[in-house]
């Protein structure tokens, strides 16, 4: 392990000693290959798939900040939940723009690898590692932000988190989705827009519903039907 590892781990211990211990004991994933990018920075390939730019990984991560997904998070005041740490370039770029960044990394060995290569000490106060959806209970709305090559490595875990997060989109979000449908205010009257909607499947069902309501169809009836279907 290089010099960053102990510094990063000590800092992580201040915020999450349990995770720090897990990371210390974890094994670096097999089939990982650390490469030197053209700009001299470390980059990574796993099972022959490149996880960060082989030329300038930091510039690539900075460019992510201009993506539609991140701009949506900024505009709506959502917390980005980065799925897939890799070596951490995206996470380190995100903490420069957000007060809090969640990181979902299914393999603690990957955190160990990242901690051994990059300096996270200044960023860890704004990074929070998630290991279960229940950890989101105390947080306001989040936006899942995938690191695409990491998603390929952990597709099952990614879909698990997508389902959990989708079902927890707040009423404020639901309001935007339903904005075009007559009667939405009546339905949402009973929801607190700052709290998660705990009706599993409802948001997904509304997502799948396209086009306006037909004549005689009321939103309340539609949602009743949808929630019944979802059950």
């Amino acid at each position: 392990m290089n010099r960053f590892f102990e510094q990063n781990l000590n800092k992580l211990s201040e915020f999450d000693p349990e995770l720090a211990e897990t990371v210390r004991k974890a094994a670096v994933p097999a089939q990982t290959l650390i490469l030197t990018a053209r700009n001299g920075r470390p980059t990574l390939a796993v099972n022959g798939v490149t996880l960060h730019s082989r030329v300038d990984p930091e510039a690539e991560a900075e460019a992510l900040l201009e993506s539609a997904l991140i701009l949506e998070a900024k505009t709506k005041g959502l917390i980005p939940a980065l799925f897939g740490l890799g070596l951490g370039y995206q996470a380190l770029a995100l903490v420069r723009s957000f007060a809090l960044v969640l990181v979902i990394e299914p393999d603690p060995g990957m955190v160990k690898l990242a901690f051994s290569r990059l300096d996270f000490t200044q960023a860890l106060s704004r990074l929070r590692f998630m290991n279960a959806p229940s950890a989101l209970d105390q947080l306001p709305a989040v936006l899942l932000t995938p690191h695409p090559p990491s998603v390929r490595l952990h597709q099952q875990a990614f879909h698990f988190w997508v389902e959990r997060l989708e079902a927890r989109r707040p009423a404020g979000e639901l309001k935007k989705i339903l904005a075009d449908l007559a009667g939405w205010e009546e339905l949402l009257g009973g929801f607190d827009p700052t709290r998660p909607v705990n009706l599993p499947g409802l948001v997904q069902a509304v997502h799948r519903r396209t086009g306006p309501l037909s004549e005689g169809e009321t939103l309340v009836l539609l949602l009743h039907e949808l929630t019944m279907t979802e059950k």
Partner: protein, 203 residues
């Protein structure tokens, strides 16, 4: 069906093919005047261009009432390319940032759609460029300032495209984006910048 090349009517029974692509292929391979290539196709009185590669397959022979081919000499085409090549390469270069962004953001389906269209354009452009050099007798190996020789540049471009195909087979999209952004883009820019000099060398 009426078929003509440069105003010269063709005997329909001599032209084979069940669709427009096959018919055009037979015409260009077996019935074109020497040293000429197709400059314009008029299908049923209207200029025909393919919106997508091989779209002509979708036009059955029975839908063709008239097919008029207007040919150009290889020299005409070469001059046209040298006049417009910078714009052609410029358009291709403009499409690259979007493709690399899509690959980096994991939108592989859309990225691959744009990428395959780009590769087809690249292949056609390089083929045309090689034809231009041959037709206009432009020296392959003469160095153009700091840009190197055309031979060297086209050789390097061939290496990059081979590398792209290999990476694509491995579905290594981030690496593919790197090569598009950091290898192919500057190479195409160099090629674009060489065109005015190439044009000045024709007599």
């Amino acid at each position: 069906m009426l078929i003509s090349i440069d105003g010269r009517p063709m005997e329909e029974s001599l032209i084979s093919g069940d669709n427009l692509e096959d018919i055009l292929s037979d015409l260009t391979e077996n019935h074109m005047p020497p040293n000429k290539i197709v400059g314009e196709v008029l299908l049923n009185g209207r200029t025909y261009t393919e919106d997508l590669p091989h779209a002509a397959v979708e036009v059955p022979r029975t839908d063709i009432e008239s097919l008029v081919l207007v040919t150009l000499s290889s020299e005409d085409i070469a001059r046209h390319f040298l006049d417009n090549g910078q714009n052609i390469l410029g358009s291709m270069l403009d499409s690259l940032p979007k493709i690399t962004e899509l690959f980096r953001l994991g939108d592989e389906t859309e990225a691959n759609e744009h990428y395959l269209r780009f590769l087809e354009s690249l292949h056609l452009t390089v083929s045309l460029l090689e034809k231009v050099i041959q037709v206009m007798d432009i020296p392959y190996d003469v160095s153009i300032g700091e840009l190197g020789s055309i031979e060297g540049r086209l050789g390097w471009l061939a290496e990059i495209t081979t590398q792209l195909l290999r990476i694509q087979e491995e579905n290594d999209w981030i690496y593919l984006a790197d090569v598009l952004e950091y290898e192919l883009t500057p190479e195409l820019e160099t090629l674009r910048d060489m065109l005015p000099d190439m044009k000045s060398r024709i007599h």
